[in-house]
């Protein structure tokens, strides 16, 4: 039963991601992208990974896709600009697709894909002992994989510093009044009654 669901949702993912790059309106593209994210979350649900499914919905749909939507609405790109150079790059893309598909076909068709035995974290075994998926992820993330977690923290710190470097400018170009000056203003200086 699960396998049919898998094929159904994978089909939805592939068709909606084709629609992402082929639709004329940029806002529609982003909406299709959100649909793709939802479907991939469902794929995780089918594999009993409810925490990952929720994370995908929260992070990708909630944060990234909404940010995309804002950017697309602000940029105001016309249709012709997006389609520009499509024909020029199309043959090259076709060659790339052909290479990838033939490679994957070669790999997966001529040998059956064995399920490895000595997996570091055996999901099925872990599921039997501890029923909660979220609890297990937390357990592994903060014990076995803590150094990866720490380095990811460093990446986030670096992203913060980088955003400050790229966005902050030294001289104030905006014509705004400083809040200190605003507080100094007295009513009798401004309003005059004749």
């Amino acid at each position: 039963m699960t396998i049919y669901f898998f094929y159904f949702f994978s089909f939805l993912i592939i068709s909606s991601s084709i629609l992402v790059i082929s639709s004329n309106n940029a806002v529609h593209s982003v909406l299709y992208l959100i649909f793709t994210f939802f479907n991939s979350a469902i794929l995780f649900l089918l594999m009993n990974a409810e925490f990952l499914a929720m994370t995908i919905v929260i992070v990708y749909v909630g944060a990234i896709a909404v940010l995309f939507l804002f950017v697309v609405m602000m940029l105001n790109i016309t249709e012709s600009e997006i389609k520009e150079g499509f024909l020029k790059y199309f043959p090259f893309g076709l060659i790339l697709i052909a290479i990838f598909i033939s490679e994957l076909f070669l790999v997966f068709n001529f040998q059956n894909f064995p399920i490895p035995e000595n997996v570091k974290i055996n999901v099925n075994e872990a599921m039997l002992t501890e029923s909660s998926n979220t609890k297990l992820i937390g357990l592994f993330l903060y014990t076995d994989y803590f150094i990866i977690f720490q380095i990811s923290g460093f990446i986030l710190l670096l992203a913060m510093i980088g955003a400050i470097v790229l966005a902050q400018s030294d001289e104030r170009k905006l014509k705004s009044t400083s809040s200190i000056n605003q507080k100094k203003v007295r009513k009798k200086d401004i309003i005059k009654l004749n």
Binding site: P116, S152, I155, L158, V165
Partner: protein
């Protein structure tokens, strides 16, 4: 007690980050000196444990002499770049407290890269390093070229990340573990190596060659080298290359050592393409930084050639080549940093003309460096090229050796063209003289080093041979 240099460096970085908040706006040099101090101390910790072997952090990282040696080389590169930052008068856009911070954090990433023993930790540390480099490349906001280079580098870098992840997911799906020692165990248990593993390795190889700009994955290099600030280019062309070569050697030799037949061919193709494009592409360049980009591609091809046999001697030769390569590159970029006319940076080749008449010492040192890059006999570049060619011929790869010699003759042409322009052309407009004596001194030291290596090549040979022993002996 885990007392590894990376942990020390990270803690030191955080402390300097806190100090940077309290430093006044026009005193960023203080932070440069602090970073230099931190790099010195970390260097001490690296060298203290250079002969230690230990698997740490739940087998995610490994300390061995090969890793420690590369860490020390990376630290030296970064130390020089930060020293350049201190002594050379920079553009106003580089005068921010964050500059040395980001260099420090990228070094942490590189040090983690060369010591990682697992695909997962390798991925995370490559991300840490390359995110820092994207920011560095687009550092000067006023310059349009810098932002363009930043976007290009970012797009290419994300593509390389995707390819890496895809390859590692294939390997994980087959092996059931991302750990190098378990992948190696899996390979030795198998009767015949599955095709899927080879495909995964090819993906990882492509991703790493995007990072070292080996042709045909070199497209971004000239634009990024030209667009980014010269100081950043100096960093970009030295330290990350060393780190990625460390990763490449570790990944190919240790877990995938059994399928050398498969990756050997790929490396041959990569190195032939890199040498050809690196030498032919540079012929028509008129910008010194673009020319250095093509020269880097050429050198990368040469270095990759040493890895084709996958033997101990080859890796020794690669280590020696990397040391000499960074001294040559840092020297040339130190000069480029000082190339100014009316307080503005110029990087055209014709600006070099007549340098000999105004600055004979500098012109001499620069000529030494260029000759060394071309591989003219008594200099350092010659020794490293000789070692690599020796390895290649020993392994009966004659066609590779012939291509290498031909391309290095072609590349000698454009290096000599630079030297000719310095010594024999009449000057068009004079450059500003090198105002700081420290740059002069440092440039002469680089030149002298390249000249004098011929008297003690045995030192480097013994050092690198004992280093690479750890990669093979302990496993």
């Amino acid at each position: 007690m885990i007392y590894i240099p990376e942990v020390f460096m990270s803690i030191g970085f955080l402390i300097i980050l806190i100090i940077s908040v309290f430093v006044k706006k026009n005193q960023n040099i203080v932070l440069g000196y602090l970073s230099l101090l931190l790099i010195f101390l970390t260097q001490f910790f690296v060298l203290k444990d250079i002969f230690l072997f230990e698997e740490i952090f739940n087998n995610f990282f490994v300390i061995d002499s090969f890793g420690s040696f590369l860490k020390s080389v990376i630290l030296i590169c970064a130390g020089f770049v930060i020293y350049f930052y201190i002594i050379v008068k920079n553009d106003s856009s580089l005068n921010r407290s964050e500059f040395s911070m980001i260099i420090l954090i990228s070094i942490i990433g590189m040090m983690l890269m060369v010591s990682s023993n697992d695909l997962l930790s390798l991925f995370v540390s490559i991300e840490l390093q390359s995110l820092a480099l994207y920011i560095l490349v687009s550092f000067s906001k006023e310059d349009f070229n810098s932002s363009e280079a930043g976007v290009k580098y970012f797009v290419i870098g994300s593509l390389s990340t995707c390819i890496f992840l895809f390859g590692s997911s294939l390997i994980y799906g087959l092996v059931g573990s991302t750990n190098f020692s378990e992948i190696s165990q899996f390979m030795s248990d198998q009767y015949s190596v599955p095709l899927l593993l080879v495909v995964g390795l090819i993906f990882i190889l492509v991703s790493l060659s995007l990072k070292i700009s080996a042709a045909p994955f070199h497209m971004w290099t000239p634009d990024v080298y030209q667009g980014s600030p010269s100081l950043v280019t100096a960093f970009l062309s030295t330290a990350p290359k060393v780190a990625v070569f460390g990763v490449l050697i570790r990944v190919l030799v240790y877990p995938f050592g059994e399928i050398i037949v498969d990756w050997g061919k790929i490396l041959v193709i990569l190195s032939i393409f890199s040498m050809l494009i690196g030498s032919l592409g540079a012929l028509r360049q008129d910008d010194l930084k673009r020319l250095m980009a093509y020269s880097t591609i050429n050198h990368i091809g040469f270095i990759l050639m040493g890895l084709v046999p996958g033997s101990e001697d080859g890796i020794t030769a690669i280590c020696i080549y990397l040391i000499f390569y960074i001294t040559m590159n840092l020297g040339v970029f130190l000069f480029i940093l000082n190339m100014k006319r009316d307080q503005l940076n110029v990087t055209k080749i014709k600006d070099l003309s007549g340098l000999y008449k105004t600055e004979p010492l500098i012109a001499g040192c620069l000529a030494l460096l260029f000759f060394s890059m071309a591989g003219i006999p008594p200099l350092a570049g010659f020794i490293s090229k000789l070692l690599i060619l020796n390895i290649v011929i020993d392994n009966n790869l004659f066609f590779l050796a012939i291509i290498a010699v031909i391309t290095s003759v072609i590349s000698a042409f454009y290096y000599i063209r630079l030297v000719k322009s310095m010594f024999f052309d009449s000057p068009t407009e004079e450059l500003d003289l090198l105002t700081n004596s420290q740059s002069k001194l440092l440039l002469s030291i680089f030149g002298l080093f390249n000249l004098s290596v011929i008297f003690y090549p045995q030192f480097f040979l013994n050092l690198c041979a004992s280093i690479t022993l750890s990669l093979f002996a302990l496993r």
